[in-house]
Amino acid sequence: MNSRPQRLLGEALEFSNKNHPEKTAAIYKGKEYSYSDLRECAVNLAFHLVNSGIEKGDRVAVFMNNSWSSIVSIYGITLAGGVFLVVNPQTKANKLNYILNDCGSKVILSEGILMPELLRAMEGQNEIQEVILSESKHPTDDENFEFTDFEEIISKRESASLPVIIPNDLAALIYTSGSTGFPKGVMMTHQSMVFTSWSLIEYLRLTGDDSIILVLPLAFDYGLYQLIMAITIGGKIIIEHSFNFPPTIFKQIEQLKPTVFPGVPSIYAMMIATHKKTGIKFESIKKITNTAAALPAEFITDLKKIFPNALIFKMYGLTECKRVCYLEPELLDLKPHSVGKAIPGTEVFLRSPEGKPVPPGETGILYVRGPHVMAGYWNNEELSNEMLKPGLLPGEKILCAHDLFKMDDEGFLYFLGRNDDIIKTRGEKVSPVEVENSIYQLNGIKEVAVIGIPDVILGESIVAFITQYDLAKFTEKEIQQQCIKSLEPFMVPQKIVFLPEMPKSSNGKIDKSELRKIIGAG
């Protein structure tokens, strides 16, 4: 064992490699990669990045599907002292362009299949000095397009010296939807991410024998931390692109026998539907986890049949501090509606809108205190100040989650709702403004208002209310097709309601509470 404590994200890989270089770190498309493979490839990439001019604190974007290349990229960037940001591969050009401009990424790592979108996103971009492409065999029409080959970089060693990083340095930007309609980069330092990974490992009771199957995108912090935890404990990660084709995942679980399955309610709903038809059952799984949207209590009975040997962890969090709380699996039946207590090493409390303490059983705004709280939003002090508030000590910052909770007399938390407009669907945050802006691009749209309404499986489903000028007669389908041009699939409204007139409040603003009544969710 090491006598040196882990201070930096990349040290997890160094330590695990030192302890058991031959052990399998990752499985992707049937191929096993050892810790020494991962370290070797990540170091090769790190040296290349340094030689390309990446300095401590420079942002490097990863626009890839979940893959071996994406995990090598994350560790390569962090070893080079860079700040990684993983962008969801379903992101469309205009949003990708916004993110690349916002973070000022000099180098971008991507893959051949995503080239069409990437090329469109890079139009008018001049900060990007290098594009590194994995599986670059998909040709582009542009013969002058220059890129470096990812597989070549990770297979040969250049010489370079890596910068000295300290725990206060930035490790990652995690982009999340904002109420302004533009995504915001959550700044996470090394010390924050190292602290958080160990806090999660502790309560999830993970060990080096655990093997985690990843079907969630690495761009989503819930997915990213599965990788970080697996590497930190010296366990194994089985990397899958997505859960889109479930039978493939079911076969992988049967063959590779992972012990941990992290999911969200829409995934569990699909598994339950399959279980009722075919009786699927996964005995190797020892732990399943849920976050992003509340796990409906009625799922529990079926989940226990699908995963007969698993502990079920209900959790709640937000990207700005990664995770807030979890419920000990032994208390699942005792506290069926609670999301538990603060994760180890952190604390939470509830305050009234005036900032006063809230007694047990009453509604309050959730505040979070601990080393897991973000350093702020990249390039956005104003929005940072809306979330980070003065803490208990002079100069300290605590996180105001803007979520409404109550706490019982034993300190268990109950989620009641949000106090902003952001929609949480399929575990992802969606800004109504972003969806509204996309629909406004259609000629003939008068007014648009987008809201989230409660949905057992999705957490919230998205509804768009639209008024049109006389001549324009769009159908629901046409509106959805417009959305998919600029938005990720999870942001497309499930339902479009056409109204003759928008309900307005006395000051002329669209009255969203009236819209909720129209749809029967008021």
């Binding site: 379903q90 692109h241 997505s242 859960f243 889109n244 084709f245 479930p246 039978p247 493939t248 829409s266 995934i267 699909m270 539907a273 399959t274 075919t278 389908k477 959805q480 097709q481 959305c483 998919i484 699939p489 497309v492």
Partner: protein, 85 residues
């Protein structure tokens, strides 16, 4: 029995109707799951659709991506099943 072109067309229309993409975004060889046009719920709906429309039931060992990755793959699978009856 329907021919391959008719089967393809039916499946393509189903994919277009259940997802949000437009006509020109789904070709017969578009990888509908890899590209995120269909997700896990879409997968269930496809299985139900081919059962209802063609009376084709996929056995457990046939639920592989190669049989469902595109409109063409699904149509070929349906045709094979129909011919084997």
């Amino acid at each position: 029995m329907e021919d391959i072109v008719q089967i393809q067309e039916k499946i393509k229309q189903f994919v277009i109707n259940t997802s949000y993409v437009s006509e020109d975004q789904v070709k017969n060889d578009t990888l509908i799951f890899t590209q995120g046009i269909m997700d896990s719920m879409g997968f269930i709906s496809i299985i139900e659709f081919i059962e209802e429309s063609f009376s084709v039931t996929a056995a457990d060992n046939e639920l592989i991506e190669a049989n469902f990755e595109s409109v063409q793959a699904i149509a070929n699978f349906v045709l094979r099943k129909l011919q084997s009856v």
